[in-house]
Amino acid sequence: MTAVEVRGLGKAYGPVAAVTDLSFDVPPGRVTAFLGPNGAGKTTTMRMVLGLVAPDTGSATIGGVRYAGLRRPAATVGAVLDTSGFHPDHTARAHLQVYARMGGFPVRRTEEVMDLTGVTPFAGRLTRALSTGMRQRLHLATALLGDPRVLLLDEPANGLDPEGNAWLRGFLRELAAQGRAVLVSSHVLSEVEQLADRVVVIREGRLAVAGPVTDLYGDPGVLIRSPGADTLHALLPGLGEGVTVERTAEDALLVHGLPADRIAAEASAHGIPLHEITPVRPTLEQTFLDLTGGPA
């Protein structure tokens, strides 16, 4: 199974560090979201993985091999980069035919990828006349020509309408379900929230968090409202290791590290009435903003 391994990757442009000591994996069979605000170093990282930009430190390998050392790169990795373009005089089909030849793929493969990505309806149109959404589909078709096991997509949802976005989500999940390693970068969390199994979040070129999406939700807490808030505030931390109690209002506490039933039983045992007891989960959006240093 082919996976992408990024180890200690670093790149500076003059005094500006774009990426610093970045390590993460893109495992096969999963969609990994690569998240971070604009300018966090996502594109630079992907370009280093693809051998377009030479890293100052560290390495990035695909199935254990650097991109430049791949025997058949286009049949191993498919990439969509936001800065790549098309010759304006080429039709969508001609563009794919050029690269099918370059990759040594059969020319009928161009028709297959056009069907897969929905390019067929505008196959004969000049690329200069394509909408942003059509261009994204054509980029995706180009990336898929070699039926690669790894897909690296930089902001592939840019310019897609909601319908196109829903299609893209389903399509990428299907590609991952076929055992491919899929990395999708985005600066918009909601774009990948329903798509990704795993997330890699970077902030100012450094890893903020990497792991399953569920990790991003953070610890669930329990919100309680009680006239005996003071007593509970003193009582609850003694009930276990790592229990934290935070006062959010005069009569309200946010408890971490204790399940709701334990809290209810404890309050009941001390005869403290509870007016509200609610398990709470921070929203993914809030966690993302906390991690990436955006507005709270």
């Binding site: 370009r47 693809l50 051998g51 377009l52 930009v53 030479a54 991109y67 430049a68 791949l70 790169p73 286009a74 990795v77 990439a79 980069l81 800065t83 790549s84 373009g85 098309f86 010759h87 304006p88 005089d89 080429h90 039709t91 001609a94 563009h95 035919q97 050029v98 690269y99 030849r101 370059m102 990759g103 040594g104 180009t142």
Partner: protein, 264 residues
């Protein structure tokens, strides 16, 4: 490598540029026919007529000056990869960055030779037709005219190669055109006036071109003006080889630079 050449060929014929190339080749050939119809004796200043060796050579030599057109087309085609940012996809498909450049060189040299062949064919037809129409016998035997035209055709192929080499190096069509154009029309002429440098002339691009096309009007004129003897030119094949060498240097430099250059 075959796959890369096929891809470059497909890239070339899928865009409109090649049609402009064919048109430019036909027009270049027709230009010769027009010059022949006007007749060098009616040029300003008048030159020997078509019935003289010099007259026929002048008309063919002026065609040789149009070799910069396919060079420009070659430059355009290579620079287009950067202008339209298809270079990213190309490098992803070919991380060993010299391979697509070599494929381009092969493809465009073939295209340049085809360009030269079309130009030479149209020019030959035009020249013989014009001579017949004017009732003049050309100052050179037909075999020699065709030989000179073949040399011009080869020159155009080599110049396309030069254009590709410089286009890949400079990556900007206008910059490459300015560099090549100013070199041939200004710098080299100026260099010839520097004492001593003119002995190198046979090895400079202009001298090598003159050797290849067999057109020495410029060299002779400079020699006459400076009072020096026109330097002996290299044999045509050697002149061609010198030009190919310059193109190869440009291509090597382009590869060396692009290997280190980040693509962003």
């Amino acid at each position: 490598m075959t796959a890369f050449v096929l891809a470059e060929w497909r890239r070339l014929i899928s865009a409109r540029l090649w049609r402009w190339g064919v048109l430019a080749a036909i027009c270049s050939g027709a230009f010769t026919a027009l010059l022949a119809l006007i007749g060098p004796e009616n040029f300003d200043p008048p030159l020997p007529g078509l019935h003289t060796t010099e007259g026929t050579r002048v008309v063919l030599g002026l065609l040789g000056l149009l070799a910069f057109v396919p060079a420009l087309l070659g430059t355009s085609a290579v620079a287009a990869e950067y202008r339209h940012r298809t270079i990213t996809t190309t490098v992803l498909y070919a991380p060993r960055r010299w391979t697509p450049l070599v494929a381009k060189i092969v493809t465009f040299t073939a295209a340049g030779l085809a360009y030269g062949a079309i130009t030479a064919a149209v020019a030959a037809a035009g020249l013989f037709t014009a001579a017949a129409a004017k009732g003049v016998t050309l100052g050179l035997p037909a075999g020699e005219v065709l030989g000179l035209l073949a040399r011009i055709a080869v020159t155009m192929g080599v110049y396309t190669l030069l254009g590709v080499g410089f286009g890949a190096l400079l990556r900007n069509q206008v910059a490459a055109l300015v560099v090549l154009g100013s070199y041939f029309y200004v710098v080299e002429t100026a260099l010839m006036l520097v004492p001593g440098v003119n002995t190198l002339y046979p090895y400079l691009p202009g001298g090598a071109t003159a050797a290849l096309t067999g057109f020495t009007y410029l060299a002779d004129a400079v020699a006459a003006q400076t009072g020096g003897a026109a330097g002996a030119l290299l044999p045509a094949p050697l002149g061609g080889a010198v030009l190919v060498g310059y193109a190869a240097l440009a291509a090597l430099a382009a590869v060396a630079v692009s290997l280190r250059r980040d693509i962003t």
